[in-house]
Symmetry: C2
Subunit: 340 residues, 2 copies
C-alpha cells in the first residue's frame, strides 16, 4: 500500500493525504479523520526511505559500537542503550547501531555521516584527545558526547564527575584511617579512567600519602580482573587495606578474592565501588552491602536522548554541557582498617 493507492481509494490527492497524515493545518478535520481511519484500516505507513529522501531528515540517531569480541560491548553499553531506548521511544526515533568494520572506527563515522542515515550521532567512551570528536566537529555534524575530551572547540557533552567520585571515595577511606589504598579501574587512556585516577591522586596528595604505582591498576571491567588483581595486591608489602573498584563487575572479583584470602569486606579490607546502577546487580543487597559512588548510566543515556530529541527539532547544541555529580553512598563494605 503506497500513498498513491491510498489517495485513490479516498478519492483525494496525494498531497492532501500526505498533509492529513502529517498534521498540516490546511486540511479539513473531517477529511483528516477519514484519511487516518483509512490509513489504519489498510495498514498504510509511509516508506521511510522515500520520506527521508524527500524531507532530508531521518528520524534516527547513530551509535557506533565495537564489533570485535572484546570486552568493550558489555553491560555498560547495554544500560546505555536501554536508557536511550527509554526516551527515544516516545518520539518514535530509532537508533542505528553501526558496527566498527576492520577496526577503522573513524571511517564508520564518516560513512554514517555522508550516507545521511542519521540526524545525529552519539559518541561515547571518549579518550582525552578523541579523533572522532575532532572529526565530527570538522564535519560540523551534530553529535552529543557521553564523557569529555580535552578538545577546546565547543560541543555538547554530558559527563559524570568521575574525578570527584574517586576523590570522594579515596578521601572517605583516608578519613577512616586507611593509608594504603589501591584502585582497579578501566583501561588507561579513556577520559573517565584518567579522571578517576586524577581524583584518586588528588585525595592522596592532599593528605600527604605517597602513591604506590603498584596500587594503580587499569584494565577491563570484569570479575576475573578484579579477582586476579586483588590476589596480587593482597600479596604486596605493604598490603593495601582498601580498594576502589571502577565497576560492579570488578568489585565482584575483588570481593571474591578478599573472601578467598580469609578477610572480611569492611573489616580487614575495605571496598568502594563505582556503581553504574545495573538493575540486576544491587549494591545495597550485597552481603556486606557495598559502599559505592553511584551514578546511573541509564539515566545519563535518557538525558542524552532528551538532548538529542531537541537537536532533531532544530535546537543548536553548541553549548550543552552537563556535569553530573556522583554521590558517595556509605554502606558496610568500607570501615576503619582492622589490624590482623
Amino acid at each position: 500500500m503506497k500513498l498513491k493507492e491510498l489517495a485513490e481509494k479516498l478519492s483525494l490527492s496525494q498531497t492532501t493525504v500526505s498533509r492529513a497524515l502529517n498534521g498540516y493545518p490546511e486540511v479539513n478535520e473531517a477529511t483528516r479523520e477519514r484519511v487516518n481511519k483509512a490509513a489504519l484500516k489498510f495498514g498504510y505507513s509511509a516508506n521511510a526511505n522515500a520520506r527521508r529522501l524527500a524531507m532530508g531528515r531521518v528520524g534516527a540517531i547513530g551509535l557506533v559500537i565495537p564489533a570485535d569480541s572484546s570486552q568493550r560491548f558489555g553491560p555498560h553499553t547495554a544500560e546505555f542503550l536501554a536508557g536511550l531506548a527509554e526516551r527515544l521511544a516516545r518520539d518514535e526515533i530509532d537508533f542505528l547501531l553501526s558496527p566498527i568494520v576492520d577496526n577503522d572506527e573513524i571511517s564508520v563515522y564518516k560513512r554514517l555521516i555522508s550516507s545521511k542515515r542519521v540526524d545525529a550521532i552519539i559518541v561515547s567512551g571518549p579518550v582525552l584527545v578523541d579523533e572522532r570528536v575532532s572529526m565530527l566537529l570538522d564535519a560540523n555534524f551534530p553529535f552529543v558526547l557521553h564523557g569529555r575530551t580535552n578538545i577546546e572547540k565547543p560541543h555538547a557533552w554530558l559527563d559524570i564527575d568521575n574525578q570527584g567520585a574517586f576523590y570522594q571515595a579515596a578521601s572517605h577511606l583516608i578519613d577512616l584511617g586507611h593509608r594504603h589504598i589501591a584502585m582497579i579501574d578501566g583501561l588507561r587512556g579513556f577520559t573517565f579512567s584518567e579522571h578517576r585516577e586524577l581524583g584518586y591522586r588528588q585525595a592522596l596528595g592532599e593528605r600527604g600519602i605517597e602513591i604506590d604505582p603498584r596500587f594503580i591498576v587499569h584494565d577491563y571491567f570484569s570479575d576475573e580482573i578484579g579477582f586476579r588483581e586483588t590476589q596480587r595486591l593482597l600479596a604486596c608489602t605493604p598490603q593495601p587495606t582498601a580498594i576502589i573498584a571502577g565497576s560492579m563487575m570488578t568489585a565482584l572479583g575483588v570481593a571474591r578474592a578478599v573472601r578467598n584470602n580469609g578477610y572480611q569486606l569492611g573489616k580487614q579490607i575495605s571496598l568502594i565501588t563505582h556503581d553504574d546502577v545495573f538493575p540486576y546487580l544491587n549494591a545495597s543487597n550485597m552481603v556486606p552491602s557495598m559502599t559505592t559512588t553511584r551514578s546511573s548510566m541509564r539515566s545519563a543515556a535518557t538525558r542524552i536522548a532528551e538532548i538529542l530529541v531537541r537537536v532533531l527539532d532544530g535546537e543548536p547544541l553548541h553549548k550543552i554541557h552537563e556535569l553530573w555529580p556522583v554521590e558517595l553512598i556509605v554502606r558496610q563494605s568500607s570501615g576503619p582498617p582492622v589490624s590482623r
Copy 2:
C-alpha cells in the same frame, strides 16, 4: 557531494559513475579506477535513503527492544547485540533498534515492516504462542526467531536446548544423591523458561521424585531475586539441597544467600547455573567454581546474523532450524549432599 556533481567533475554520466561504484561489469576498469579515486577524494558516499528508495533494499535488519525500565533489556540482550554486531560488521549491515512504544509491541513490528526500513527482523524472547511470530508469518516478512514457539507454520529459528539443559542439570544432581532440588528461572510464559521447567520436571519425574511447587520459581534474572528466593527456599521444610539457577545474575544472589546462611556451595547446598557466557563473569573463576550448563548467547547471535546475511542475499529461510545442544560442565559448586 552528490552523484550528479561527482559525475560532472569526472565528465561522466551518473549512470556510469553509479555503475563503477557498485561494481557493475559494463564499465572500463580504468574508468572505474578513476571514479573510485575521485569518490574517495571528494568523500562521496551514496545517500542511503535515495539508494534504498531506488533499490527497494535496505541493508539493515531490525530488532525491537523493550523501552521500559524493566529488566528485559539486560546483559543478555547486550551479549546478543554484541554477537550480531560481530558478524554484521563484515557486510556493513546496520541494525535498527526500535524501542517499543506505548507497550504496543506488535504495532512497532508493523511499523518496521511497512515503513520498509529493514530487510529482515530478528525476534527474540518468544513465548509459546507468540503473536509477533504469527503476525510476521502472515505478513510474509523475512525474520529469524531466536528461540522457538508452538507455531506450526514453517519459519526460521535458532534455539538452544533449554529443556535438555535443565534435564541434564537436574539429572546430575539426582545422580549425586539430591532429592530436594529447586529451580529459579526466568519469567513464566517465555518458551525458554517453560522448556527448562519441562526438563526439570522430566528429570525428577523419571526418577520418581515428587515435585514440590514451592521449589519452582519464575522471576526476573537478578542477583536480588536469587538472594531473596534462596533465603525463602532455605527456610522451607524440607529444605532443598540443590538449586538450579537460570542465569549467572541469579546465581550470584543464590551464592550470597547460601554463604549468608553459613552453608558452603557444593557442600550443604549445590548450585548449577545456566551460563550464557558473559565475558565479564566467568563461571570457572568463581570460588568455588561454578557448575554450569553452558551456551554462548553471543555465538548464537553471531550465527543468527550469519543466517540473516544469507537472507539478505535472497536465500529463502523457511527451513532453517538450528537446535544447539547445551553442555553440562561440572565444577565445584555441585557435589553430593552433605548432612548438616
